[in-house]
């Protein structure tokens, strides 16, 4: 019987059915960070349990780590206590820890693929909702709570209900200046922030076939913003090429055998899905959010919704969002002044994100009064950018070039919005208060759109600002 990748991986990792009907699922790799793990280690101690498979458990520090002054002790005593607690837990339980000193520290969803821990056909769990990122490799990856972190530490398994499977096709060719971020913002806008609840998403079609691995990660990353806990892309030659030679990938003959196995993983062409949705790439334009959920988005040349022009069911949430965002209904979103530009997060802080922006940012300057920060997703990404001179392009333009971490995506470190500052952000959530100030405002967009906003000081169309796609474009 033809099967989807999801079905194949789920079956292979099923231990048994539990009494209440959930599945006990084996987890191939467990990624942990400092925010959601300390209580789980505490529970292990209380129960007198060990980490069952420490060699498949990997930790890094990302949420609370400062991106400027990185020497310990951190100025924030609570953050300092958290990094010390993570170090203590990893030492005591024998868990591999990518510390700052290792040079391999970074956002957990950037580090996993970078180190080659993320592999096709495996399962990954992490106490972080953006774990769906790893699905870009044909991995089935779940965000979990802290009690489940405890479960995976203690048993290398977790209890979970099997989701349904929805295939999302995006066919055709994306217009110039339209990026993976625009694709996922479009999908969420069309299917809704809860449209994926109870589903795993399989992304496919011509656009995904052409996407590089980092673009696939951007889309899979934000699956959870559409309600889907899992999102993945079938592995192909690009997947194998990206992984080859990475530290935790098999080597030599074992590599060839692994690739042979991985080639059989992709969903069979005639497998069944619970639902199929089709989109056309040509319908997608550069997108920005105007509200307080990632589904509240418009194309850059559209206007902000007017609660008087929509049906009653949406009215309250639009009014609430516009009140927080201090935006005028019916006005164009383009031209909205910004205070901060943030290029970072597990959604968009990988090498190709910075490379693409650097192509256009060269020779340009951040607008006066705008604070612009570029935060590589990992120390590895930062190093390569520095070797290639990409950091120089950002610095010359007036961006602050920072050390690796989650930074202003959720502002658990010193990088925060102040008051009602408005941030053009390449991150994944525009929730009220998300970027550290309860009345701070976030507009989600692609990295190049963040750069365009930084340069003009207002929400802008990167295609116009940088002449993207124009035959007259001269790259400086």
């Amino acid at each position: 019987m033809p099967k989807s990748l999801f079905e194949k991986v789920w079956e292979a990792h099923t231990v048994r059915e539990l009494s209440a009907g959930q599945t006990q699922l084996l987890i191939g790799a467990h990624l942990i960070h400092e925010v959601t793990s300390p209580q789980a280690f505490g529970m292990l101690r209380e129960l007198g349990l060990k980490v069952r498979v420490p060699e498949r458990t990997f930790a890094t520090v990302d949420h609370i780590v400062p991106t400027d002054e990185r020497a310990e002790p951190f100025s924030d005593a609570l953050a300092d206590a958290m990094i010390k607690e993570l170090r203590r837990n990893c030492e005591e339980f024998g868990v591999t820890y990518f510390d700052i000193a290792s040079g391999r520290q970074g956002i957990v969803h950037v580090v996993g693929p970078e180190q080659g821990i993320t592999q096709p056909g495996t399962t990954i769990a992490c106490g972080d909702s953006h774990t769906s990122t790893h699905g870009a490799f044909g991995t089935i990856a779940f965000g979990i709570g802290t009690s489940q972190v405890r479960d995976v530490l203690a048993t290398q398994t977790m209890a979970i209900s099997k989701p349904k499977l929805r295939r999302i096709n995006v066919d055709g060719e994306l217009p110039p200046g339209v990026y993976a971020k625009d694709v996922i913002l479009y999908i969420i806008r069309k299917l809704g922030v809860k449209g994926g609840t109870g589903f795993a998403y399989e992304y496919g079609g011509e656009v995904f076939d052409r996407f590089n691995m980092e673009e696939r990660m951007t889309v899979c990353n934000m699956s959870i913003e559409g309600g889907a806990r899992v999102g993945y892309v079938n592995p192909d030659e690009k997947t194998f090429e990206y992984l080859k030679g990475r530290p935790y990938c098999p080597k030599g003959k074992a590599w060839d055998e692994a690739v042979e196995r991985w080639r059989d993983l992709a969903s069979d062409s005639d497998c069944e899905y619970d639902d199929v949705v089709n989109f056309r790439a040509e319908d997608i334009s550069p997108s920005v959010t105007w509200g307080i959920t990632p589904g509240q988005g418009v194309f850059i040349d559209e206007t902000i919704p007017d609660p008087d022009q929509v049906d009653e069911s949406q009215c309250d949430s639009i009014i609430e969002a516009l009140e927080h965002m201090k935006l005028k209904p019916g006005a164009p979103i383009k031209g909205t002044p910004i205070n901060v530009a943030f290029l970072g997060s597990c959604t968009n802080a990988r090498l190709t994100d910075f490379q693409e922006v650097a192509r256009y940012l060269k020779g340009r300057k951040v607008a006066p009064g705008v604070k612009a920060i570029a935060v590589p997703g990992s120390m590895g990404v930062g190093r390569i950018c520095e070797e290639l001179g990409i950091d120089r392009v950002f610095r010359d333009a007036g961006f602050e070039w920072r050390g690796a971490g989650c930074s202003m995506c959720l502002a658990m470190n010193p990088d925060k919005l102040e008051g009602d500052q408005l941030c053009a952000s390449s991150s994944n959530r525009n929730f009220k208060g998300r970027q550290g100030s309860p009345i701070g405002r976030t507009i989600l967009m692609s990295p190049l759109m963040v750069a365009a906003a930084a340069v003009t000081g207002e929400v802008s169309d990167a295609r116009e600002v940088f002449g993207v796609g124009s035959p007259n474009l001269v790259e400086v």
Binding site: S19, G42, A159, S161, K194, T197, R229, G433
Partner: protein, 199 residues
Amino acid sequence: MALEKITNISGKAVYVPGDDIDTDRIIPARFMKCITFDGLGEFAFYDVRKNEDGSDKPHPLNDPRRSDASILLSGSNFGCGSSREHAPQALHKAGFRGIVAESYAEIFFGNSTTLGIPCFSASPEIIREIAAAIEADPDAVVELDVENTTIRCGDKTYPGELRESARGALLSGKWDPIAELLEGVDQVEETARKLGYVG
């Protein structure tokens, strides 16, 4: 590790209106700088309840008549966003033992169930009706019957929904799965051996 069988939750209720109430709203990230869950209760819905200067906003959660509420009512997609268990932990520590909302984000639903907090779903009409009843009488008791998945308020009984796996786990005292997961250890080894890459 025998757990209590959760068959029934009852108490006063508070209504937090709105759809897509995310876990950043339930517990802002700045309060997650901690290594235990202790003390999170006082920060539940902090920015919803407090002005920037720390004074109270007019909000049902600040109504002294509801300070001992143990049932929370809300809208659709409750608990969306981050997987932080700090959210249901904060609600639990703030005294909430059951939730009635139109629908839930999946990770929040699972995290709450694992803490023994039943998350009932109900139609918007039912939620509005219960909200009106507790508005009229803040002492009105709302009761969640896990066995029959019904919600009682005053002399009315409403149909609720609760995913069967959660209902079964709550009723049988297996809402925290760790004991059962540990029992499966031989089968875990067998599955790991077949897969070849895990341990």
